[in-house]
Symmetry: D2
Subunit: 303 residues, 4 copies
């Protein structure tokens, strides 16, 4: 315990850029300090040639975070993505011309249902968008055979998408593995169960093996965890067999005292050896729709 080491000085607003403001937050407290430190760690990972996983839970694509994922892939800020089936569905919606609309969390949900509009907190998406996804995916699914991991399946999908802003397309072009260990827990899961030919199936065991290969790379390995859930657990768990992450950033709105994984501290992960015992780590308790754009803008400026 070091007392009197460093003064809480606050942020200097003279150089008013995202990078300077976020960097200045290191001299404050609470979650601002955590956010400042997260920026520093992310930058360190990128500049030191880490292999960086991004795990992404929560409705981040409907919430307008899509171009950040695309941008992070393009800029080389992340090297693998692990996300929910739902985020994959909504990525495809956008990539094939569907849209998410600005809505209200106070809407009359029964009226929305009658209009075939689905609500995700304050975002609307028309059921029509899912029909577009079905029309796009069903011939792809029907054409497949054998056992595919989700990165293999999503690579096929990415190759068929023409939207240059699509992160599935960018992942396809750049050879970035995109895992979706809950792909079946989404509308695509329903499509898979309807349209697949006998002989084709998603083999999640191949996902595990692929993930293990990535975790055994001979370079420092980092992880940026957005929002807990299976993407967090699936990624951390792979390290049970490897040496543990070298650096980790977590952005969550959950709290430790409920005992669940999404709010669990990264220190807890050290007891499982999912992080190395000397790993640098920080958790930012903040809505990721705020923290993620700030970290991205920070990196764009810093690197």
């Amino acid at each position: 315990m070091d007392l009197n080491e460093r003064r809480v000085r606050g942020i200097e607003f003279e150089k008013n850029t995202v990078f300077e403001i976020i960097k200045g937050m290191e001299n404050t407290a609470f979650n601002a300090r955590r956010l400042g430190y997260a920026g520093k760690l992310f930058r360190k990972m990128v500049e030191n040639d880490y292999f960086i996983f991004l795990t992404l839970s929560g409705a981040m694509i409907p919430a307008g975070m899509r171009n950040i994922i695309s941008g992070m892939m393009r800029e080389g800020f992340i090297h693998s993505l692990v996300t929910t089936g739902a985020n994959i569905v909504h990525e495809v919606v956008e990539a094939i011309g569907g849209r998410h609309e600005i809505g209200s969390e106070d809407a009359d949900d029964i009226e929305l249902a009658n209009r075939n509009v689905n609500r995700i907190y304050d975002v609307y998406v028309s059921q029509n968008a899912f029909e577009m996804v079905e029309n796009f995916l069903s011939p792809i699914i029907s054409s497949l055979d054998g056992a595919l991991s989700t990165p293999e399946f999503l690579r096929v999908v990415g190759g068929k998408l023409e939207d240059e802003e699509s992160f599935l397309r960018i992942a396809y072009e750049k050879g970035i593995p995109v895992f979706s260990p809950t792909l079946h827990d989404s509308i695509i899961g329903l499509h898979l169960s309807i349209y697949r030919k006998k002989g084709f199936f998603i083999d999640f065991m191949k996902d595990i093996n692929h993930m293990l290969d990535l975790c055994f790379q001979k370079k420092p390995i980092g992880v940026v965890i957005v929002g807990g859930g299976v993407p967090k657990n699936f990624t951390l768990q792979a390290m049970l067999l490897a040496d543990g992450f070298d650096t980790a950033i977590q952005i969550t709105t959950d709290s430790p005292q409920w005992g669940g994984l999404s709010g669990a501290t990264l220190s807890e992960a050290k007891s499982w050896c999912k992080l190395k015992d000397n790993a640098d780590e920080v958790t930012v308790y903040c809505d990721a729709t705020i923290a993620l754009p700030l970290l991205y803008a920070y990196l764009l400026e810093a690197i």
Copy 2:
């Protein structure tokens, strides 16, 4: 909007049983009122012969909620369970004689790691317990062939367990389907990837079809949602193709305003037609380790 309809009277403590106290909470406010109403809805579902799903996320088995799940199955309070791979792992740990220990959330995680003790908030589990699971499961896994749904796989496991308190065993005996759509996202997933023979795989598409069959039953269908995550989404999603749940209870510590599924209101689910538009529903914002035992004790007394 009905004003002046019913007075906030508070709880009467004369008849001091769990049932009376929880029932009395209907005359209060905030989450006590929600808990009282959840008891009422759960009782209504049981008494009116609903088919009731329990979705269970969060480390509920390590946290000592195991005998509640067993008890609910035995008493006929639930008819299907949908839970995480982690809860299945910890159920097997207990069923084969392993144990979870009362620990501290303030522990030194690196010391724990050095002692091969893993921490789940304030619960400890020795790595040795997972080796026991591996020794128990590996011959079972190696003996299997073909495509199994998770209920089929867990039925095999349940049949091998001798512990009478095991909910997997009770489910086996009573023919209760136990789904684990994230089974691969657990230590069992690692075991599956290591020990399975060529030809055996978990086919989550069969889970989807099985779930759909259950959702198309000609009786009222209810759901008790503990803690969000994939178990919640996977169960609700099946209703996209069916008519929607008739009654729903949700226990969560997450909040709506973060926009994620785990905190999403059940009203939001109505916009997706996952609940019928006239479905009775209530969300209790409370740690499930508190709310679940209370609801179980309430039902034991009421029914």
Copy 3:
């Protein structure tokens, strides 16, 4: 760090009373364990003749917790109350025949405003109730002179109330000091500013001196903190000059990681010497409308 000391056994439901269930929670985890431990500590304080403060923030009286406060005073479970001006206002509303109604958090607030109905989450209170308070209090206020502490002022008020369920009346009868360090931050504050004669004022410095006297008693001193805010801070702060509380229980829905007092751990209070360094303490993260009735019923049964 004691490993393998005590098994997470879960609750036994054979003896299905509130006391047995809450006691059983000590063998679980997360907030159930905390609640079980809170019951144990509260019982210990009562049985060992502690002087016990209850600090009460949040709209607990509108929420139907009033008879618990009255009951705790009557049973000797608490010996001083520190609460908000708002809770005092709503206590007077109930004591003079006004009422709180069961409402809905989804109400149309503008329609409510037009009907002169004020909303507190899912509770309604008519503006008429506040007029009743004004009519009741204005002659009392006008009759007073000199500098009164809030316990002195509230003792006058309690002496005028005839409702036997009124905790202000019970406090008056039993000589229990009721502090309201934010009395002016309430509708009573507005009444005080309108109706007081020159020469009468609430002197909060007398509150501080009175509180210090209580903190210097030669017996063990405990505190049950419901919900943070000024009642928490004001009570803990008095111990800056005394020796610190011997035992403390905190019930809150706030979280430590936001850095505010309402979610601050009781360990943090030890760095300020507001708690003795060896004080037993526990925080239960739970809506107090759930935890408080349970603890009260637990004590009724245990003592």
Copy 4:
């Protein structure tokens, strides 16, 4: 309910300034959209010559937000401050040369106590700092006579401070009223109770009258609420007698479903007529240490 009105487009990162990023958040969802809208409303208030209150709860001064408050006063972004006694204490600490240190929330609190270091989450402050405050304030307190409102008392204090970064000094210079309706609930309260001469007292009724005068001004009136508590309630409550705020922004980490004031929606305040029924309002659920610097930087750039 307007469907399909506006697309969730996400943020454009070409013009990478705080203003552009926060403005871009209006095209996203969840709390990013709320933050973007808060920026827009704050700017509207400043540009349209509103009288703007800032209510400030939580340990914002220890957390390094002090120069933002000073800056907002200097720039004319706020015209009255309502804050806790604690924030006033820590402002004086900084203004007279004391300091807050970067600490750790995982510290050993008993060791800190032994070193006379007090902890506020991850900030340390030496007890010595409070002795400095006592030495500074005691002669001021001893010199005062009669009944002073907190703005009057704090004006005296501000006039004695020489630090140009002190917001109490700036308030003194610019005639900005600083209210602290919980001044007695702080270490200054202890000092007041010790050092005041007979005849001097803080008269909070004068605070109420002063606040009412400000609320009756003939110009649009707005409020920026940081963190609930008494500062929020005291400020909103004054509008019970006036016409209600025209515009309101709230930054909180609390949630509506716990029923307390700090998490209460601004819509709820409309049922009390504390906000006009057509008032623009937005709540940002975010740690204020993150949201406040961003809004300040946004305004510096926009205006």
